[in-house]
Symmetry: C2
Subunit: 531 residues, 2 copies
């Protein structure tokens, strides 16, 4: 205690000791001591983002692929606010993310200066763990505890974060950073959380042996290759159906991996999918709910009469239990693996229906697909890439737009030797476009395909559902991204990412192949013809 | 009660009754009923923004110029989060803004579906007034009260919002919007707030007559022409100095308007400015504080020994009191008005020191200047435009970057017959670039000048102040916007705004004249040579 180490150095040293290797930052004045400290520790890589939503989305992408947290460095309440939507997505995905938010010095706080606001309230809305170190000697310990909290320690809200990750936020006053007396702390191991009641393996085994129709809903580590192998062996001998969320946080799929069916986006379609099911076994998953409520429709998508059994709740590991069940039920059975089957490349004008088959036909080995294609990908992307080489898909769990381009940053930095494919709608791309600059600045191997349908297509569908008139004076205009049309080639080149435009399937294929052949980022604007 | 009017219609009708004419929206599914309702009421103009920070910044610009609130339409917690930084700026500027944030339906809330989060906590961090209507019949009344609250009603936090404006947020569950039973409500008049203790006009008069050195710190409506006329008459006969904040919410200045000196950005320089002052009279202003705290430096910028007198506190009108004082002290005196004096246009390579003189030499009559030029404008913009035709300047009160481009949207919509000049740094422009699309979509008469110094120059200065090494491996990189260099011409054209690049003062002048001669938006990238 009371040594000569500056607080900022104690923070950075503790981050490094805790296994944090990357810091995605959009710093301001209150973080200058941390920026200066970064300079002294080459083990912690600073990655500049031009907007906080890029930093937090990148940390989400990094955490999903690396399985451990990146840090973010954010400036005061407004900076945290700008990062909030992608922290929401990270929270919903169960991603470990460690936010370091700078605050004014103690003496300055009482002045309510212009940049001041209630950081704690904002942080609390997305974090399983928030702390505000009291003095410089506490910084190391608090940062170590926060890092531990991202890895599944019991959250202070009481929510189970199991073995999955969580968002933790440390709010650091500038005076603690600039003062001497910092004490780096040892890593705090993740604490297994107290989770809710679950059904034992023998109970679930009995359900699976009952002869009644069973569905497995898989999420979390059940969607790794290991989890899917086990689940598929169970499914083979019991006839159980295998589902996963529409857009899971991370899913292994493609050739050599067992097939799992994503739940449909619309509740009505889920009811059709689940028709006849009597038992739903949750493996690291939550009971399915609709994205939105509608008049007179239930948001609970588990059909009436279906009994739910919890092998492992959301954010809790289920692979060991699945493996145990597989050994009990199907010890002699090998998993069915999807065959390698490249679809034939489509031809002609690009549409919502054919673009995904180009991606499926050309997807490289072991790619990471950041999927924010939403309406443009629903119903086609999954089918089109089913026989492509095995790959990971990272989905829009929290439904806050602007995830795709930043997520790709983090995935590419976590896995520098893998190709990252970023699929994003025109609407979503405009929330966090400056991520493209970081693609270029860091020379990341990301191929972005912007699916430009020139509208908020998903909202047009929703407007139809509530009986609005898409041709109306204002409501139609409010969902229309023409006048002027966005030129993503120009936007991308303006941020240093080489770009091209495709209006036919042939052009998309040619440009996709060329982009993959070169290292570094490329953007393809795929203009989808109106249907 | 219990009529057939839908809740969404009651909201829109009440907004119109309350004088709200514009709704800046980035809606989602939970707001589709409101989007559909907008269709039925042409009196309320819907303006689409591609990112919520654009919608909230536009509402701030609109409110500052119109003096009454625009509505925003935002989607759930993440949407409000994306809008938070510019709501922070609006709160600090005392701007009336009325947020309508959609939430899930009651039945859906309990499911904790993927888009769900603690909207109330996020809203509370920026709003003087938050309400969550309990049922459909309450919607009209609650919206009317929120609209009243934006116009200076006593805030629920107890903070005085005086006669200035405030941010109010109504969180509307989708089921209340879609249900019948809506009851439009009459406008709720703004309630004069209970403010803190203030010094009476006779007390302040005595100070001004004391013969001791006095400074007036003017803000709020003291910075209108009327306020400045009165203050200047007082200053003439008493020798009082006239100051305003570095970046006030709205300031009238230029030819025909009395001159007020902005306080310096750096605390050290404020001490020099205020040297010799014995009394500081606050007219709609708060005591000056530094933007950030530094080790061993006081954040309070009122020099020791200076007595503070409150004619009107922040967010409270002071013009009547100033006028009363002017009549008491200087009944025969006319205000000194700045002479019309166009600076000579500079020549040669553009630098931080000469660009502002081009703007000053060419600023059109009655322009609105949205100023987020920060370091590029400090010390020069004010001098360079002092003799330009009278204009309004809207400053970065809350210091959250990304204000300029959205603010211009709202200012241009509030004042369609005035030229809007948007001055923005390269760093700031990358927070909310999609505002440019709305410039084009709405055909707004905005001339944007991006001051591209290819770095976070303000942070480089701050890093120097804390003893960091700008050449360091990471800290330098964290503040450097090169590799690749941003091409704002390409970015702008990609969003439909015609653009050009200037590297000399002559080019800037030529392009500025051309942009002003045409209606509609234009962007000039002013590349500032390294110094």
């Amino acid at each position: 205690m009371g040594g000569i180490l500056k607080g900022a150095d104690a923070i950075v040293q503790t981050l490094i000791e805790s296994g944090v290797e990357v810091c995605f930052g959009n710093p301001g004045t209150s973080e200058m001591y941390l920026v200066a400290a970064l300079d002294r520790y080459p083990e912690l890589r600073g990655v500049l983002c031009l907007f906080e939503g890029v930093a937090t989305g990148a940390a989400d992408g990094y955490g999903r692929m690396a399985g451990r947290p990146a840090a973010t460095l954010l400036h005061l309440g407004p900076g945290l606010g700008n990062g909030l939507a992608n922290l929401h997505n990270a929270r919903r995905a169960g991603t470990p993310v460690l936010n370091v938010v700078g605050d004014h010095s103690m003496e300055h706080k009482v002045l309510d200066s212009p940049g001041d606001s209630d950081i704690d309230a904002i942080a609390g809305s997305v974090s399983a763990w928030v702390c505000r170190p009291a003095d410089t000697p506490s910084l190391g310990r608090d940062v170590a505890e926060a890092a531990g909290a991202t890895m599944g320690a019991q959250s202070f809200t009481g929510r189970c974060t199991g073995t999955s990750g969580a968002v933790a936020t440390v709010i650091v006053r500038a005076d603690l950073s600039w003062s001497e007396g910092g004490v780096p702390a040892d890593p705090v191991p993740a604490q297994p959380a107290q989770c809710g009641p679950r059904d034992s393996v023998p109970v679930v085994e009995k359900v699976l042996r009952s002869g009644e129709s069973v569905a497995l809903l898989l999420d979390g580590d059940a969607l790794t290759a290991r989890g899917l192998y086990a689940a598929d062996r169970i499914a083979q001998v019991t006839g159980a159906r295998m589902y996963c969320p529409t857009w899971p946080a991370r899913l292994r799929r493609g050739a050599g991996v067992p097939v799992v069916t994503p739940l449909a986006y619309r509740g009505e379609d889920v009811a059709i999918q689940m028709d006849g099911v009597r038992h739903l076994i949750l493996a690291g998953a939550r009971p399915p709910v609709a994205t939105y409520g509608y008049p007179g429709k239930s948001g609970e998508l588990t059909p009436p009469g279906v009994r739910i059994h919890v092998l492992a709740e959301e954010f809790v590991s289920s692979t060991d239990s699945l493996l145990e069940l597989a050994e009990l039920l199907a010890s002699e059975v090998d998993p069915r693996l999807a065959a390698r089957a490249r679809p034939e490349l489509p031809k002609g004008v690009l549409t919502r229906d054919n673009w995904a088959w180009v991606v499926g036909g050309l997807l490289p080995e072991d790619a990471i697909v950041c999927d924010e294609s939403i309406t443009a990908g629903l119903g086609t992307l999954s089918a089109a890439t089913a026989g492509a080489p095995a790959h990971d898909v990272l989905g829009l769990v929290g439904l806050a737009l602007g995830q795709g381009l930043p997520l790709a940053v983090g995935a590419a930095i976590a896995c520098p030797n893998r190709s990252v494919i970023c699929l994003v709608g025109d609407g979503g791309a405009m929330y966090t476009p400056s991520a493209l600059w970081t693609h270029a600045h860091e020379g990341l191997d990301i191929t972005t395909v912007v699916l430009n349908n020139r509208s908020y297509a998903i909202l047009r569908e929703e407007l139809n559902r509530v009986g609005g008139r898409p041709g109306g004076r204002d409501s139609g205009r409010m969902l229309d991204l023409t006048q002027p049309e966005l030129d993503f080639v120009s936007l991308s080149e303006g941020m240093g990412v080489p770009a091209s435009r495709a209006t036919t399937a042939e052009e998309l294929a040619e440009q996709f192949v060329a982009a993959l052949a070169r290292r570094g980022p490329h953007l393809i604007e795929a203009v989808l013809a109106a249907e």
